[in-house]
């Protein structure tokens, strides 16, 4: 960490983590801003027809019932892999990107910790541990 006139230049892992998170969350937000346009322009490509979705949500139906009634059942959290051209698939991709951004950033952070002098191996391992928790959660390995 270097000190300049009146400001600290932060350590590389800290800066890398901050930048990765910031930009990935902005990209995720942009995807989620464009997604509804695709959903409305091409309703047939969606898993859930937007014409019926909001009525169903506003009637207080459970998530399971909403998916069942409007989309014929929940296709799984990673349905975006097969439905990227559909509006809801595209939005889900944005959500997945946003919800995984800490994992991506922590991998970058771990590399930065390893490249630091002196090498911060312990912190690199802790970063990878948290990244792996996110990855395991995303894969749905432990699930009720």
């Amino acid at each position: 960490m270097k000190e300049t006139k009146n400001y600290f230049i932060q350590s590389r892992p800290q800066l890398i983590y901050g930048r990765c998170i910031y930009w990935l969350s902005i990209v995720a937000a942009m995807i989620c801003a464009i997604g509804p346009v695709i959903a409305v322009e091409f309703p047939s490509r969606n898993i859930m027809d937007p014409h019926y979705l909001f009525y169903s949500i506003w009637e207080g139906k459970t998530a399971e019932a909403v998916w069942q009634e409007v989309g014929g059942g929940f296709p799984g959290g990673h349905f975006w892999l097969h439905n990227l051209t559909g509006g809801d698939g595209f939005i889900q991709f944005g959500l997945v990107l946003g919800c995984s951004c800490a994992c991506i950033a922590l991998i970058g952070t771990a590399i930065a910790f390893l490249r630091e002098k002196p090498r911060a191996t312990g912190w690199a391992l802790v970063s990878l541990w948290v990244a792996s928790l996110i990855a395991l959660a995303a894969l749905g390995i432990y699930h009720v």
Binding site: Y22, I26, V40, D49, L53, G87, V130, H143, V144
Partner: protein, 376 residues
Amino acid sequence: MKVRAKKIELVRSPWLELAVMFVVVILSYIALLLISRGAAIPPGGMALTSITWLLFGFFLLSFAIAIIAVLAGIGGGVIFTPIMLAFTPVDSLIIRATGLIVAMFSGLVSTGPFMKSGLGNLKLSIYSCCGYGIGGFIGAQCALWVAGRMGATGEGLIRIVLGGIVLAIAIYFLWGGVKREWPEVKKVDHFTQRLGLPQPYYEQSLGKVIDYRITRAGWGLLAMCGVGLISGFFGLGAGWAIVPVMNLIMDVPLKVAAASSGILIGMGDCITVWPYLLAGAIIPLFVAPWLVGQVMGGIIGAHVLIRVRAKSIRYILIGIMIFSSFGLVTKGLVSLGYISSVPGAVQVAVLLIIMAVVALAITGKLPQFRGGRRDL
């Protein structure tokens, strides 16, 4: 020369990405309106124009929540989840899952600036995430379990307990609680010493580098598990609990704790949110405008409005929380069958009383409360 410098400033971060986002959002809503004009409505379905206005309304609400949250120094989830649970008929699991997304993006957006300024401590956040993330993951799984097995009883109980929590947070905000801006650490335990968590930063208000110490990291980790559990179960951002844990247990300076809590929420909720996402509790088209509003409102709030933090916002927020708490408890009691639905007149009367008290507080006619923590 000055004009040129100003122009260069405007094409740099965060103004550039903010401008791009604004353009994308405006074009998206114009496109939505154009597409929906004259579009056929399927039988029993909602008109596309109504859907567009609904999405735009969600976006504006989320944007407003993000700005109020920044002004009041809290996360967006604490405002979103109680209000939606108290005053809309939407299923509680869908709201809590969406609330977690709101809380998470509220934290993620603040991460970059806090990391750059050094106010946020990366090592402290990663370390705390080991407890918070696991607690949050278990909390989310419990929420799904309760939703799947307890039905309407579970819905009622969740609303009543959350109502109690929100009221407690509101009282805590009102009185400020115990806070130690610069805790004095006399002894650092061996475990914490070995972790090497502290990270000096330049404190602009003091014009010097602050090199602080941290202690009791073990107890802090344990407490983070509990905080994560509540956050994951109720879909709240937990800055109101993380900051006291860091400040009072681990002796982290208040400002560093407040900044690191945002980073931790963003990081930890990336674990917590997945059980909801994989169970289908996050409905893409419903969540999208809330997410976009949080990101845009968060950036604007962090860079523009942070300088105009108003004390009155804190009182308004406390008023909102107390009214949400009332709504949550009564709705919970109705769900459990203990009372019949609350008449509209009673709700309006309670709202008016709360508004009157808030107005008195803003105008300084209420007895002064001690401090009030704005950095939660």
